[in-house]
Symmetry: none
């Protein structure tokens, strides 16, 4: 029930391919079911500040088993989870983090992508997550 | 004037029972009058990210001797305690943290619950707190 | 392959019984295979500083799949792992942390105990770990 | 003068091959000239605590442009760099971290490896570094 390194590298390869296709430079992080890093890649010229963001997105997606953007909708001022970002040594709650499931629909890890507009980050994460 | 481990475990048992009754999987933390952890339980399959949140909710409730949701009302943009979450290594200020009182109405600790919608978190925390 | 809350609580009960038998007051922490807290208990009057130590011992035992004291033998001045304690947000490398295995000899978590002399800490951890 | 992702992935592939050849399971981290993570891989079943150590070894090797073990010789009690490990959010100063140079002998990054005895960690790091 835990992602393997082979699966993680396959997801990164798929994500990189999508990133190139839409002309972006991304940081791509994969965590396992325990929210611990399994694999990571920073494309040449990608934003340096996105390194930590991509890892935090992957962790956030596994911490709550949902896309990071869904958490962000609930954490706005007045929302039910306002300022949840202060937990777990810092969450990132905008799009770009997606749980990764196996063929039995069990969550085995998550992917986090950062380096462009959040729509692009999400699209690249989706390409990676759906390759498993 | 301090919660005992026996009382803390009683509160966790009551909270777990309520969590099962409403079909949720919770992280449940109990702190003492000094805001230090006394007992903790993570139900099988509960969100991993809720571990830290449940502990921070319990601490927040004891730090200010009020329900966490009350702090959250004051910490909104424009509110008198805006961004108080930055203190104390991170507060959680949405519902799910409740002070625990003894029969003399003295605060002897607090409970923090996380793992579902905040209304459910609060209901489970209430079940735990009222068992003392 | 992950410890359940029921198993974790059984280990804590066994550890507490041993702690009482040798007239000590302990902090007892159980982490899962991902090194995340599953259950915790601080006995009444136990050292407050041992709270964090017990959790770090449990994490350390799972981080390296060995008793914490074994890591400590290697981390002495001149040893091959000198100052490894600076990793992972702080390790504790003296006795009191032990991996927990299932009946198939797979590591499913770890126990960390702190509150007395390290020999006592280890004995109580051993009582907890061997109850699974 | 900076390592590329392609080079970093080549180093990881070489390091993984060496790790398999000597029957070990490693965490392998590559940082660039700015000491920021470029690529990372955790082999299935590798120690969880070695994740952070491998990254800190890579950073330490680039921070001081020397093998981590050399720093460790100087950081012993009485040594000129005693307890330097407290800087930079934690250094790891035992073997397993090696600077990576280009064909002009310029340092373009570093590799950090952790998961076995430090001699094995160093051998795997050497395999990675020398592949560039």
């Amino acid at each position: 029930m835990n992602i393997t390194l082979e699966q993680a590298e396959k997801a990164i390869t798929a994500a990189k391919k999508k990133a190139v296709a839409i002309d972006t430079k991304m940081n791509i992080a994969i965590v396992d079911a325990g929210a611990n890093l399994v694999a990571f890649a920073r494309m040449d010229g990608a934003w340096l500040g996105s390194l930590d963001i991509s890892i935090k997105k992957a962790k956030t997606a596994r911490f709550f088993d949902m896309n990071t953007g869904v958490v962000g909708e609930l954490s706005q001022p007045g929302g039910s989870l306002y300022n949840i970002e202060h937990s777990n040594n810092g969450l990132i709650t905008f799009p770009g983090g997606i749980p990764i499931k196996n063929s039995k629909d069990e969550i085995i890890g998550a992917i986090g992508v950062s380096g462009s507009a959040v729509e692009n980050d999400h699209a690249v994460a989706e390409a990676g997550a759906s390759s498993i």
